[in-house]
């Protein structure tokens, strides 16, 4: 059974030693307030920062996998949409592959509806367009696990839903997906949610029960209003208020 298993990954003061097990086929969301540790956890899992502990994908230790192998095991999409060099979109996607593969690139160009944009320099694309290019790069090598930091930010609604469909299809095909999510209204579309705050995984549940829990409202400092939408908790509800 394909899965990503992390044991005691930690990042100095940003992330307490954390362990988790993410099986293939599920859409796992990471939610939490700003600065709570979503990005730190993803970076620790992707081994971007030296993070202690170990991360196994399909039973293979990431730290001992060479570049070509690692590319097949995981892919990390950072939250930043910047590319330092004026490279054509198509060539950015190509960097996601170990060897040149025009057929795969064309497939991704079509999937992300890049069309004419594919030959334009990424620095001349809009942030949302660049998000599509960079996500295509992250998916290119068909890795076992996708660690995506806020892939749905900067997208218009059409692309939010298209991305969610793609993630669902990836999960169905046996990939592992861990996705940091900002927009809580989309949480119900995931199978499982990790609530991360104060550098720790606080809760790990199905989205519906997570959102219904007292702790969830406390951490986000919001509550469900009478109209069914979220609203700010009144100061009287807050324990820290005088």
């Amino acid at each position: 059974m394909t899965s990503l298993q992390a044991v005691d990954v930690a990042l100095d003061r940003r992330l307490a030693p954390s362990s988790l097990n993410a099986p293939a086929g599920q859409l796992v969301a990471l939610v939490g307030p700003n600065g709570g540790g979503k990005t730190s956890l993803l970076r620790a899992l992707a081994r971007v920062d030296y993070a202690g502990g170990n991360v196994m994908v399909d039973g293979e230790d990431l730290d001992s996998a060479p570049e070509a192998r690692r590319r097949r095991l995981i892919s990390f999409l950072p939250a930043s949409r910047d590319v330092a060099w004026p490279i054509a979109a198509r060539d950015v996607i190509a960097l996601g592959l170990e060897k040149p593969d025009d057929a795969r690139i064309e497939e991704l160009v079509a999937l992300f509806e890049l069309g004419d944009l594919a030959d334009r320099r990424v620095d001349r694309l809009s942030t949302g367009e660049r998000a599509r290019v960079l996500t295509a790069r992250a998916l290119a090598a068909r890795p076992r696990a996708l660690l995506l930091d806020e892939p749905l930010s900067n997208l218009d609604p059409y692309w939010v839903f298209r991305f969610l469909d793609m993630f669902r299809a990836a999960a169905a095909s046996g990939q592992i997906l861990l996705i940091a999510l900002h927009d809580l209204r989309l949480l119900s579309r995931f199978d499982r949610a990790l609530l991360i705050a104060e550098g720790k995984v606080q809760l790990d549940e199905a989205p519906a029960s997570l959102m219904a829990s007292e702790r969830f409202g406390e951490i986000f400092r919001i509550r469900e209003g009478a109209d069914g939408d979220w609203e700010i908790r009144q100061p009287a509800d807050q324990r820290s208020s005088p």
Partner: protein, 318 residues
């Protein structure tokens, strides 16, 4: 395109070796052996140095630009060339080193010192303004220190003597000197070229590169050290030559689809072409004393540099 560029490089090598033709022909008329001697003892070291130095500037410029993620980082702008000159001056005039390879080591040490200082001052991912200001400060300081070292040098002729090579000169270099510059520079550039793929991937951002198991920090240290060796060794023999290391990578990236690491090889070819053309201009100028090569590269490089700054400003404003 590759074959075309390789042909131009070969053409430049041939032109640099044979032009001007008249002295060769005259020597040949007197004694074919003399023409041979002229070609091998005088022209060949100069041609090898010009081609090798130009290529080293192109490769190290492209590599430095890749790790700083900035098209203005280069051996001259970063202060590495000035540091190498300082190292070579201190080694040659204060420590009394005459052995070319030891002098090359002094040049490399100077370049390494200035690059380390630049990273300490500006940081590895500095914005353009910080990088330029820190590089300028270091260049000026190294330049002043070089002048001071020459002014106070034990030999009263140091200043005049050094002027000959500080701004770049390939006149009368021996094969031993060419070897002292080119063997370290050749090894360093070969090692840099092996990192092309890694430097391309760093173009996606250090985080993505790190997630693929590359170590961006280590890679930066490697690039800085190898660039210092390549540039330092060449500067110690032929002086500090500006702009080639800045401009060659710019054209190199046009030939590598914009990839910063793969740009190193074409940048090497373009650096070699530019420097051999500049030295041909030096030889063609009908003056009784040679003008420094650095003057020629600056003459063509300055307008290009200004154009780069203007386009960057426009991009930042947009």
């Amino acid at each position: 395109m590759r074959i075309f560029i390789a042909l131009i490089v070969l053409l430049c090598i041939a032109a640099h070796l044979l032009l001007p033709l008249a002295p060769l022909r005259e020597a040949h008329a007197i004694d074919p052996e003399l023409a041979n001697l002229l070609l091998v003892q005088l022209r060949l070291p100069r041609t090898l140095l010009v081609i090798g130095y130009g290529a080293a500037l192109g490769v190290s410029g492209a590599a430095l630009q890749a790790i700083f993620a900035n098209p203005l980082a280069s051996p001259d702008i970063s202060g590495a060339s000035s540091g190498a000159a300082l190292g070579a001056v201190v080694g040659g005039y204060w420590l009394g080193i005459t052995q070319p390879l030891a002098l090359a080591a002094c040049g490399a040490a100077g370049a390494l010192g200035t690059l380390a200082l630049l990273i300490g001052l500006a940081g590895r991912r500095a914005d353009t303004a910080t990088l330029l200001l820190a590089g300028l400060a270091i260049s000026l300081a190294a330049g002043a220190a070089t002048s001071l070292a020459l002014a106070l040098a034990p030999s009263p002729f140091a200043f005049y003597d050094a002027f000959d090579w500080l701004m770049g000169s390939f006149v009368d270099r021996s094969l031993a000197q060419a070897a002292a510059a080119l063997i370290p520079a050749g090894i360093a550039t070969a090692l840099l070229l092996r990192r092309a793929r890694a430097l391309d991937l760093v173009g996606l951002g250090e985080d993505v590169a790190a997630s693929l198991g590359l170590r961006p920090r280590q890679l930066s240290i490697e690039v800085v050290a190898l660039s210092a060796v390549a540039v330092g060794a060449c500067v110690s023999v032929a002086g500090a030559i500006g702009f080639v290391g800045l401009v060659a990578p710019l054209f190199g990236r046009r030939l590598s689809r914009g990839y910063p690491g793969s740009a190193m090889l074409p940048a090497a070819a373009i650096g070699a072409i530019l420097l051999s053309l500049a030295d041909l201009v030096v030889r063609a100028v009908p003056l009784d004393r040679p003008i420094p090569v650095g003057v020629i590269t600056a003459l063509f490089g300055t307008p290009l540099f200004i154009w780069m700054v203007i386009t960057m400003r426009r991009r930042l404003a947009a």
